[in-house]
């Protein structure tokens, strides 16, 4: 289970982004997880809750959106969504395909509580 190590990295990056953006506290983190990301959404969620509880004073919500696995066919140039890990073009049947979506574990956005600053 390597979700914990990746979630620690996620939170480090989120904290850094927050600091670069004025240092408000992070209310919500939205991530996208694909079927070929190598992580399990439920394990990411529990690892996230655990790390935040241990290291942050204010709570942070994690929203996970699961993305589809999409391949691009290098034979017929078509893109198609596959759902069974059979890496074949659904149109022409070629196995000469490249994954264009679905291997990501990506920070989509973060929502900050805006600190009211006076100029």
């Amino acid at each position: 289970m390597h979700e914990m190590s990746l979630v620690r990295s996620l939170i480090r990056q989120v904290d850094l982004i927050a600091a670069e953006n004025g240092g408000g506290s992070v209310r919500e983190v939205s991530v996208e997880i694909g079927p070929l990301s190598g992580v399990e959404s439920e394990l990411v969620q529990s690892a996230f809750d655990q790390v935040i509880a241990e290291s942050h004073e204010s709570p942070m919500t994690l929203t996970i959106r699961e993305t589809p696995l999409v391949v691009h066919c290098l034979q017929c140039e078509d893109d198609c969504e596959i759902d069974n890990f059979i890496f074949r073009c659904l149109r022409c049947g070629s196995g000469h395909v490249r994954v264009i979506r679905g291997d990501e574990f990506r920070i989509a956005s973060i929502t900050l509580d805006e600190r009211v600053t006076h100029a």
Binding site: L36, V39, H96, S109, L112
Partner: protein
């Protein structure tokens, strides 16, 4: 309290991937061909490396980094042949580039033609970690069953070569080499499949030839003239 949403759209591994890519280019410049060996525990990674060392003898300069949760056992097995460093992860289920760097620093500081990184035995987590290798090889032993590629798609999708090991046990186990091959090709169309019995040095010629061919292919694409 007012809130503000910032769009990021960045993979959390993007920095690690960039670091691995940078390291890979360095290995390429040094003409060290780096192979990441992944498999379940006990599939025969160390035994394959022992057979590789026996086959090549002094033909190539080889170094090995071996990852395990604990003990020096694998390093002890390979030490009679080549410079080797054991990387003990202390419980982590996979190797990361930072651990590889630590191991490299402890190896003799000389040129190696091949660097083998024997990953922690695990068909899941090591798939997500780029160790700056040029080639990822997944081992599948006949005792594990021929249904593994479809069950561990990420590991087989990210590997370019599948080595079926323990071929001497084939008469005793319900393993169909064709079925495993077809299954791996559904995951990765271009998967190169090699069968070996490392204990009896069978198939090692093909395995070593594949490595030499891929090393030559890679370095002939690099502009620098070959020094050896």
């Amino acid at each position: 309290m007012p809130e503000r949403t910032i769009v990021i759209n960045r993979d959390i591994q993007s920095e690690r991937r960039a670091a691995a890519e940078h390291r890979r280019q360095e290995f390429t410049r040094q003409k060290t061909f780096v192979v990441n060996l992944v498999s379940s525990p006990g599939a025969g990674k160390t035994t394959l490396l022992e057979a590789t060392c026996r086959y090549w003898k002094d033909r190539w300069k080889i170094a090995v980094l071996v990852g395990d949760l604990a003990t020096q056992r694998d390093a002890d097995r390979l030490r009679p042949f080549v410079p080797v460093q054991q990387l003990t992860t202390g419980g982590a289920c996979h190797l990361e580039l930072s651990l590889v760097e630590k191991g490299l620093a402890k190896l003799p500081q000389e040129h190696f033609d091949f660097l083998f990184i024997e990953n922690v035995g695990n068909l899941v987590c090591p798939a997500s970690h780029d160790l700056a290798e040029h080639l990822r090889v997944v081992l599948l032993s006949t005792t594990e069953g021929d249904d593994k590629p479809g069950k561990y798609p990420k590991m087989f999708r990210t590997s370019e070569v599948m080595v079926i090991t323990k071929m001497d046990l084939l008469p005793h186990v319900p393993f169909d080499v064709d079925r495993a091959t077809v299954d791996s090709h559904l995951i990765r169309d271009s998967m190169e499949v090699i069968t070996v019995c490392s204990l009896h040095d069978e198939g090692i010629h093909n395995w070593c030839q594949m490595l030499e061919r891929r090393r030559e292919q890679l370095f002939s694409e690099v502009d620098v003239p070959c020094s050896t």
